[in-house]
């Protein structure tokens, strides 16, 4: 078997691409390689780009990447698109707007389908970020699915989350669900040359100021204006992200963020592995079917079955 971990560390695009496929497929072969890569992760800075559909996230990702490349930084991009719940298929179209990055050896881009995972990301997105990190990318951009406002999982992975809003798409503060405004470390008003941009800018700014006066926050999210199509405001946006990074690093918040991430990730991995093992065993020996039958007939309750299975597993 090829030593993918070693090849990734040596910069092999092919090895990284294959390892990512395994992660997406939840192929157990990935584990061993990830185990060896882990020590080499944690170097990259992770930026999340999220917002409504049509907000211009791909174009923004393209322009930000270009700006970062000009600064000499290498970039990994993970662009997530939804899978169809009916067919399981997906059209991943983010490369269209990022065509000019394809031949840049300093950029690795991967399109991912959500495969039924909610929250705006694919299940394996976090792992893919690690592979790109180990591959040596300085900055990793995660572009989320743009389907609504519940897709806020990106904050679990990103050091800086940019929330992209545009005038004329119903992106008004009133329409924001509780909690969405809070995910932003940086606000981006894209398509800022459109009618309604000034109003949206004013609304967001006012809201940010109100929040700041109500409760003490160490970081006040800046509100940036861009016209991504015309490459306007991108430099300022990158600077705002850098300022946030500096803040995180100097205040110790970055370390705290990453500690929290490690904790969640570890618990999640344990959860996933326990689940898989128990499920596999229950399925293999037919016990699950018997339990389900009993539960359906109300001879057994799912609660007691759960306690029973877990208790027995713990004993072993």
């Amino acid at each position: 078997m090829r030593d993918y971990a070693k090849e990734v560390l040596e910069g092999s695009v092919r090895a990284a691409a294959r390892l990512i496929s395994w992660l997406e497929d939840e192929d157990p072969r990935a584990l061993e390689h990830m185990e060896r890569l882990y020590a080499h992760t944690g170097r990259a800075y992770v930026m999340g780009i999220t917002g409504s559909p049509g907000a211009g996230k791909s174009t923004l990702t393209d322009k930000v990447t270009f700006a970062l490349r000009k600064k000499g930084l290498t970039v990994g991009i993970v662009a997530v698109d939804p899978s169809s719940p009916f067919t399981g298929g997906a059209v991943l179209g983010d490369r269209v707007r990022m065509s000019r990055l394809t031949m840049d050896p300093g950029v690795f881009m991967r399109s991912m389908a959500t495969r039924g995972f909610l929250g705006g990301l694919a299940k394996a997105t976090g792992e893919v970020v690690k592979v790109l990190d180990a591959l040596g990318k300085d900055v990793i951009l995660i572009e989320t699915v743009g389907v609504g406002q519940d897709e806020v999982d990106v904050i679990r992975l990103a050091d800086t989350t940019c929330l992209v809003l545009v005038p004329g798409l119903g992106d008004t503060i009133q329409s924001m669900k509780a909690g969405v405004m809070e995910i932003a470390d940086v606000f981006v008003i894209n398509k800022a040359d459109r009618p309604g941009a000034d109003q949206l800018y004013a609304e967001v700014t006012t809201r940010v100021e109100q929040d700041a006066s109500i409760r003490e926050r160490a970081w006040t999210p800046p509100v940036m204006r861009t016209v991504a199509v015309d490459d306007e405001g991108i430099g300022d946006l990158v600077e705002a992200v850098e300022a946030h990074r500096k803040f995180l690093e100097e205040s110790g918040a970055l370390e705290e963020k990453r500690r929290r991430r490690a904790r969640e990730e570890t618990l999640q991995l344990i959860h996933g592995e326990l689940y898989r093992r128990i499920r596999d065993r229950l399925t293999a020996n037919g016990e699950l079917d018997a339990l389900v039958e009993a539960i359906v007939q109300r001879r057994e309750s799912p609660y007691r079955a759960m306690q029973h299975v877990v208790a027995r597993w713990m004993r072993e």
Partner: protein, 559 residues
């Protein structure tokens, strides 16, 4: 058109017929399918009667040929005066070969030239650019510099022919070359006639030959319109094209609706520039498709003329009737042709040409039957031209004006398509106009959904396509296909090398510097472009200046 009493009698009569004669027949012989639809998916009823045209106000809605709202045609005598211009889109390989094809077509009785450019020229790249690899001379003639253009029109007097150039993003450059040649031939600009397509919006929507972002692209479009209005009065400055929208999969009504929406955007851009609507609107022209469903096509053309006239008059306050006329070129539907049993395509093209004639086109290109297989051969091109000559000379469609007017079905269909066009235009207005609708992907998505629906109908067998899903047969391998010499690219590249070495470097550099300066200002770019082509700047070099100044466009693609 009928009074209430008469309508009531017809209503009763129809009900009776449905209960008796029809009812009996249906009980014994059911119809072929539960619902009938046009190729665009528009429902088609069993029978149309005066009841379906009861709301029609003849004077207001139909009127007379050459008069507002031009439903019945834009000229008072239509084809009784003269036939449409027979214009076959041609051009392949290098300028020398294309020039020979043009001379041949003119000898055969063709009355106007139509130039197809290869894709590098359309995308503003020189023949030796890496993206031009394999493409040089493939779908049209390769033009890099004024020298190529001179060969292309060698021996063709520009005051005697009109030339239609299918060129969009770099339209200013090709027009500048054409004008430079006219000047050399001693033909003054006011004697030069023709058309440039110059329709960047549909490139962005569906045809893909864009270069610059929408805003600077629109600026170049308006610069050309403005310049011609002042200097080349006989030039048709834009050909607002539904053809490619239809090819991309739209319905007939969508083709007309999105084209008119684009037209509105151009008129608005010119008005915003400060041009009076009656100064430039008479030189706007359109370009549409014609599919095989003759009646639907005729209704589409009639509805389009009516809607456009009303928009120009009511929305833009035009007062010159010529501003309100939708004049258009038609090309028969490329995507309707099949690679299977290619000779069947001759029949399709004949019906489509017939539809164009009954619909009142001003010029027509008929496709060659072998187009789904390869680039057209000389034989196929000749048959195509003969097809429209037969429609003109033998079919009788040209003897009276708008002969299908008054057909209950055609009038009802015309109204229905008109209503659909208006609904789309309202939607697009509400989004903030065509540019915003394109940016949101709305128009692209509508077109793709129609294409998808059509494909599904074909695959389920719900819609029959002869030779594709019914009446198929084993066929011998086609022979006698035209192939472009792969060497064209190398020859063009060598020519470019020589040009770059031999041209006056000082003059060349000064011309490009001036172009950059003008492009950064609000000045009209046309004079600077003309100077640049005369200084032997290539199309790629001129577009590179603009790529630098304006940036490049990447579209929003929806699948």
């Amino acid at each position: 058109m009928y009074d209430d009493k008469e309508l009531e009698r017809i209503r009763t009569g129809k009900e009776n017929w449905e209960k008796t004669t029809l009812g009996k027949a249906l009980s014994r012989f059911p119809e072929r399918k539960p619902v009938f639809t046009s190729i665009s998916g528009m429902p088609v009823e069993r029978l149309y009667t005066p009841l379906d045209t009861a709301d029609l106000d003849y004077e207001k809605d139909l009127g007379y040929p050459g008069q507002y709202p031009f439903t019945r045609g834009v000229q008072p005598t239509m084809y009784r005066g003269r036939f449409w211009t027979m214009r076959q889109y041609a051009g392949f390989g290098n300028a020398r070969e294309s020039n020979a094809r043009y001379r041949y077509l003119l000898e055969q009785g063709q009355t106007g030239l139509s130039v197809a450019f290869d894709l590098p020229t359309q995308a503003g790249y020189d023949s030796d650019h890496p993206l031009s690899m394999g493409e040089v001379g493939k779908v049209g003639v390769a033009i890099d510099s004024l020298d190529d253009m001179k060969i292309l029109f060698d021996g063709i007097p520009l005051d005697k022919v009109t030339t239609s150039m299918t060129i969009n993003a770099p339209a200013t450059v090709l027009l500048a070359m054409y004008l430079a040649i006219a000047e050399e031939q001693g033909v003054s600009f006011d004697k030069v006639g023709g058309t440039v397509q110059n329709d960047i919006l549909k490139e962005i929507i569906c045809r893909g030959q864009y270069i610059f972002p929408p805003k600077p692209s629109m600026r170049l479009t308006v610069d050309l319109i403005d310049y011609c209005f002042k200097n080349v009065p006989r030039w048709n400055t834009i050909s607002i094209s539904g053809y490619h929208i239809r090819e991309a999969g739209s319905t007939a009504a969508q083709e007309m609706a999105f084209t008119i929406a684009n037209g509105i955007a151009y008129v608005k851009a010119c008005v915003d520039r400060g041009l009076a609507v009656d100064s430039f609107a008479p030189r706007l022209s359109f370009f549409f498709n014609a599919f095989t469903n003759v009646l639907e096509e005729v209704a589409k053309f009639r509805a389009g003329r009516r809607v456009w006239a009303r928009i120009l008059k009511e929305r833009f306050g035009a007062s010159n009737p010529r501003s309100m006329m939708m004049r258009y070129h038609v090309q028969t539907g490329g995507v309707t042709l099949t690679a299977q049993q290619p000779l069947n395509n001759i029949v399709r093209v004949a019906l489509q040409a017939y539809a164009a004639a009954l619909g009142g086109c001003q010029s027509l290109h008929t496709n060659s039957f072998d187009e789904a297989l390869c680039l057209p051969t000389q034989e196929a091109v000749t048959v195509a031209l003969r097809t429209q000559q037969i429609v003109a000379e033998e079919s009788g469609a040209t003897d009276t004006i708008d002969p299908l007017a008054g057909s209950y079905f055609v009038e009802a269909m015309t109204d229905k398509i008109e209503a659909e066009i208006e609904e789309y235009i309202q939607k697009i207005d509400a989004m903030g106009g065509t540019l915003a609708a394109i940016e949101q992907g709305y128009i692209q998505k509508e077109i793709q959904d129609s294409a998808y629906r059509f494909q599904k109908e074909i695959e389920s067998g719900e819609r029959v396509y002869v030779g594709i899903n019914k009446y198929t047969m084993e066929e011998p391998e086609p022979t006698n296909l035209l192939k472009v010499d792969m060497k064209v690219g190398e020859i063009e590249a060598a020519k470019l090398k020589k040009l770059r070495a031999e041209r006056d470097q000082t003059r060349w550099k000064a011309a490009l510097d001036k172009l950059r300066e003008v492009s950064l200002s609000d000045e009209n770019v046309m004079p600077a472009v003309i100077d640049a082509v005369k200084a032997r700047a290539t199309i790629g070099e001129i577009c590179d200046v603009w790529r630098d100044v304006f940036g490049e466009y990447r579209p929003k693609e929806f699948v």
